[in-house]
Symmetry: C2
Subunit: 221 residues, 2 copies
């Protein structure tokens, strides 16, 4: 029943769902990883205190985050590890295979293509695109690297909704426009610019230099 509620939530249109803080969604990913570790250690239940500690948050925060998705846990027994994992995976939409394309096969793009972390989490980069696709062949890259002209057809044919953008800043907006035009709704953007996209498209920006710069502020003494 509880799991059912979560699955139901994921079938609502985004606009019909209750407004859930962005940070809660991030923390769900962290809880899920902790639960996977517990499962691989053959643990069946976990207290909210123990799960919160593993995730590096306060237990009040954990309980508040889960409240958005229904009632979980039994007083004195804690959470059922299997059930809570299934609920969170359902909410995040990672209980089914998610195809992803990558655009821009430079240094960073090549690394991302050979990065094992995505596959482990249920994402598969199914193809990469580059303006100079012919020069991108590399024994470390298993995915096909296709010319940009093939992108629209590929995305539509494979119903791709997620794309990783590792193109230079100067090319990023144009590529983003093409992707969005083909139906991509989520962009993981590594280009150091602010992308303009329609309201129903989500952009997560990863700027590694900004992360270092942010640390730089905090290490001053």
């Amino acid at each position: 029943m509880r799991t059912g509620f979560a699955v139901f939530l994921t079938h609502l249109k985004k606009t019909d769902r209750p407004e859930i803080p962005r940070k809660t969604i991030y923390r769900l990913s962290i809880y899920l990883r902790c639960l996977h570790r517990l499962k691989s250690n053959a643990l069946r239940t976990v207290s909210s205190e123990a799960l919160a500690k593993a995730a590096g948050v306060k237990s009040t925060q954990l309980r508040k985050d889960l409240t958005y998705f229904g009632q979980f846990g039994t007083r004195g027994l804690g959470y059922d590890v299997e059930q809570l994992s299934a609920m969170i995976a359902g909410v995040l939409g990672t209980n089914s295979f998610q195809p992803v394309v990558l655009v821009g096969v430079g240094n960073l793009g090549t690394a991302l293509l050979s990065y094992r972390g995505f596959e482990q989490e249920g994402f598969e980069i199914v193809a990469a695109f580059d303006a100079e696709a012919k020069n991108c062949q590399n024994s470390r890259i298993k995915q096909p690297v296709l010319p940009m002209g093939k992108m629209p057809e590929f995305i539509r044919e494979h119903h791709v909704k997620l794309a990783i953008l590792s193109v230079p800043a100067t090319a990023a907006q144009e590529v983003a426009n093409t992707l969005v035009g083909c139906g991509v709704a989520g962009l993981l953007n590594f280009a150091p610019i602010v992308l303009s996209v329609p309201e129903d498209v989500m952009v997560n920006n990863v700027n590694l230099a900004i992360e270092l710069e942010n640390l730089s502020y905090f290490i001053q003494d």
Copy 2:
């Protein structure tokens, strides 16, 4: 005078500084990038509306963020591009060279070592360390890759305060302990675990799979 105030702030100990929201510090990095673009286009002043738009924030947010560091801008004229850049770089501590070490030269580590984005922003990865340093030689890597045993001495000798952690999750906590023990105060962590560190050490976590998972939530329809 205004710039002077900012420089003064950066010489205060962290604990003596006013509490500035983490997100404000991130946005300063974005403002700085926008200002650099304006400078390279030979613009000398910019209105708060134009700067806010370029950074993708509301102008009230921009003005509020800058208020933490003094009074900037002249009514009708806007901000002096040069002066505001210098102030922000001073606050962020990026107006001087910052040496960084990288630990863990796998796929991701190799990509980060050859990533140009860091150098452009005033950070230089001066050395890398790996448990199997001998196997990490690669024509794309310019930096020396040293065995882990050499890390403590190197960090102390070069007064390194920032480190990038691209080791597997199983090794991350032990490596973090060593780094912190040698005086590193800021960690950019790519390992998918929550690190335990002393309160005066700052950790920024970058988990690329979590970023994709987060997008996955928002693209459901």
